[in-house]
Symmetry: C2
Subunit: 498 residues, 2 copies
């Protein structure tokens, strides 16, 4: 068994290398690559996808797994070896159903779609985007067909991002959230909160050192992290010591601050993944939902909390005295927590955010089940935005073209944003139980206990458990919307009203 | 045969993809990567090297080549198919002699060596560097041993950069050059030329647009090129439409201008490689020497010529009126062509440059043949600098630690700088014959005929010929130092003297 396990691990390392290279290529494409490089980059991504596919479906991989699986009972079920066999078995069995050419086509369609989307969004031209979207959706249809899921078609896609999660569970959780959010949104939109001072003169040359100070304050190794400007903020990593977060600094607001809190959470997760299995599939993050729980935790539970701002507000205020000199911390806190329906998901507040995700989740199911024509998406989008958030969409750039995901064929991804947000509150509450008074720590600017708890209870497990099993281990329960909804009610029920 | 050829081409494309990924990773490492990412990057590079090795030595690759080689007589010897079979046969036969683990070790030693060298150079600490150098040289010794070249040991290394070139030919060419250069250097160092205005206040914010203007003027597709700052300028490419040149802009001189001319030549070569075989080994550059012939051509034959400066000097002068307002084009030309022995290769003028390369070539042979101990390198370096250029080396940062190459195990590489410089003059003279009066074109700022001639006669051949065969096709002769030496005598014999 030892020998077969070593062979499996060597193959796992190769897969891990390809994942890291893919992430680096994607970061490069979005931050560095000359635009005309897109076609070549599509080939690179297709090549990496094909190799990963070949490595995973290799019959020798199958034989090793067949040999190892019956003997798993002799392994520690909480160990990485056990987790690796389980993970690779699942990935192998899934991937053998996917033709290699289809993987290549998906990668090429994604690279091309992304570049066309960039153009289409800048001119708000959905017609320009439509053929690329059709190509991407068509490859996803073939992908679903190849996987032939037992339950709903959408399960096959969701599972890529949130392993073992089922469409019906997400539907149930999202329905519970929607029922609470819709009246809450209606109530909050009537509140008068002055946030005018958040828009104005915020010179980027003073923001950039502030963003560095944020990650210094939360804690990081400066020789392992970098921050770059991009159109859409994201985090990437080519290894535990190569963490790259991006943000978009605007000269007239502080949005970059909040997106840096968010990307810091992603970066910290990658940075604290288990060293002993670094660069292998089991050493990666558990799921996108778990990843998002980390980013939303730092963005919202820390970065939009009163205790944090009691500690940190003076540093922001002193950098922008013209804008904030006469604004006290209570006013600032109220403003950064103002809930107001708006057009853009990534700019949405904590309360309305969920509805943006639910809208996309519903549309994706309609797309995959053929209940909507792609050319009708702008209209359907507009109707739903009106129904759910009471806002009118002025153009496609502020509507269906706002997000990159569909341009690269990523269907099933959006759900993880809200699932992660829900889990972030469960994780926060368990951390509070274990660590003690988190409010007091934040007010003193002490983030090491938070980093360490997250490291030990979430990050250090890598991908050895499926996400819901990880939640059981870490917080004692699978995903549950109640703590999240209770948190929103507590926070937005009364305290915010100025 | 058609089927075997298609299979070979598919394998060739995979090899080409790995080469492009390797180049991109290397660019990223040198311009973007957080320092602590070095260890992980070493693993990435080792992984890519191992895959390339595996693909190349794959027995099926051998069988395909065995099947195709006897039938090459039915192919056009000037076609890419013929060239591909010849190139892969040669690479395959060479690579099967190299153990896979050794390839991995070489890549890891290189990645680690590079990071240690950066530190050692910044503190001028050769002792810090020595263990990493020893590790790299040790792997090269094992590499030479594995290849067991028929002639000199050094042939095995030289061949990696300049295929089919022999040590004895380089020795002969370099001896011919050295005999002419030494008296020329002695004579030129006595000349009094005022170049004081080249050092002073050259704000980088005015240099950066100038560097962009240079590549606009020479000609490029803006959506395919980028310029970044680095410690040591270089060019990289992840495809014909993804050209990345780097430079180092100093606030007190115009060195970045000349390094941009140089890297433009490298970038143009990559950009004009043959589209029909893009991303395959035969679609790459012919050799490092040929690559260098292109960079030196734009740097020196164009960028240090009087006709070019008659056209371009006003643009430089108007950007730096405080420094150059009272300097006329003759003075500027004389200053940028001042020959003066100095410590740093990449800052050397056209005349003394060759001696820097010859010194390294001689030391490399001593290293590979065990005639020098690595720990003695700083002393031997100092002695040779004294003998050849009459300068005293103050510290290792300005001596043996100045170049990156040895830190990554690149032995045999330096020679190509001088071989390329020699060939650049042969190419220039043939272009002059074919295109007409190049001086007149440069004086009018017309570079399209130069780009097109180089494209058709050098770049479009990719790697289908070994470099000396390419020279035969392009200029009607193999490498020959005479045109180069005659050019130096013509240029520096009298005209420069102010």
């Amino acid at each position: 068994m030892a020998d077969a396990l070593e062979q499996l691990k060597a193959r796992a390392r190769d897969l891990g290398q390809l994942m890291q290279l893919g992430m680096l290529l994607s970061w490069d494409q979005r931050t560095q690559m000359p635009p005309a490089g897109a076609r070549g980059r599509g080939e690179h991504m297709a090549f990496i996808q094909r190799l990963a596919h070949d490595f995973l479906v290799d019959p020798e991989m199958g034989w090793l797994l067949d040999e190892l699986e019956p003997r798993m009972s002799s392994l520690d079920p909480d160990g990485f070896d056990y987790g690796l066999i389980r993970l690779l078995k699942r990935s192998h069995d899934k991937e053998v159903k996917v033709p290699a050419e289809l993987r290549g086509e998906m990668a090429r369609a994604a690279a091309e779609g992304n570049m066309i989307w960039l153009k289409a969004k800048s001119t708000s031209d959905f017609q320009l985007f439509l053929p690329a979207l059709e190509r991407n959706i068509e490859t996803r249809h073939r992908y679903v067909e190849a996987l032939a899921p037992e339950g709903e078609l959408y399960d096959a896609l969701l599972d890529d991002f949130e392993p073992e999660m089922k469409t019906e569970d997400v539907t149930r959780i999202f329905a519970e959230i929607r029922d609470e959010l819709i009246p809450m949104i209606a109530e909050l939109r009537e509140r008068e909160i002055d946030d005018s001072f958040l828009t104005g003169d915020y010179p980027t040359d003073r923001q950039i050192p502030l963003l560095r100070d944020v990650i210094d304050t939360f804690g990081h190794r400066p020789d392992s992290w970098r921050i770059d400007p991009t159109e859409h903020p994201f985090a990437a990593s080519a290894g535990r010591d190569d963490i790259r977060i991006t943000t978009h600094w605007y000269p007239n607001n502080l949005d970059a601050l909040f997106s840096t809190f968010h990307e810091y959470g992603h970066g910290l997760y990658q940075h604290q993944l288990p060293a002993e299995v670094e660069g292998t599939p089991v050493g990666g993050p558990a799921s996108l939902g778990i990843h998002e729980s980390q980013s939303r935790l730092w963005e919202n539970l820390v970065g939009r909390s009163m205790p944090f701002w009691r500690f940190y507000y003076p540093r922001v205020q002193e950098r922008f005295p013209e804008m904030l000199g006469n604004v006290d911390v209570e006013q600032f806190y109220a403003a950064v927590n103002k809930s107001q329906p708006s057009l853009i998901r990534i700019e949405a507040d904590e309360v309305t955010y969920g509805m943006h995700v639910i809208l996309r989740f519903e549309l994706e199911q309609d797309i995959i089940n053929g209940r909507v024509q792609l050319r009708d998406l702008p209209d359907v989008w507009g109707q739903k935005m009106h129904d759910y958030l009471g806002v009118d969409v002025p153009d496609d750039a502020h509507g269906v073209l706002q997000d990159m995901h569909w341009s690269t064929g990523l269907i099933g991804y959006f759900s993880t944003y809200l699932l992660g947000t829900v889990m972030s509150v469960q994780i926060w509450e368990k951390m509070q139980e274990d660590v003690g008074d988190l409010d007091e720590l934040m007010e003193r600017g002490e983030f090491t206990p938070l980093r360490e708890w997250l490291g030990a209870n979430i990050h250090a497990h890598g991908r050895k458990y499926p996400p819901q099993e990880l939640m059981q281990k870490a917080v004692g329960s699978g995903i549950d919307a109640k703590p999240y909804l209770a948190y929103l009610k507590r926070k937005f029920g009364a305290a915010v009203a100025a």
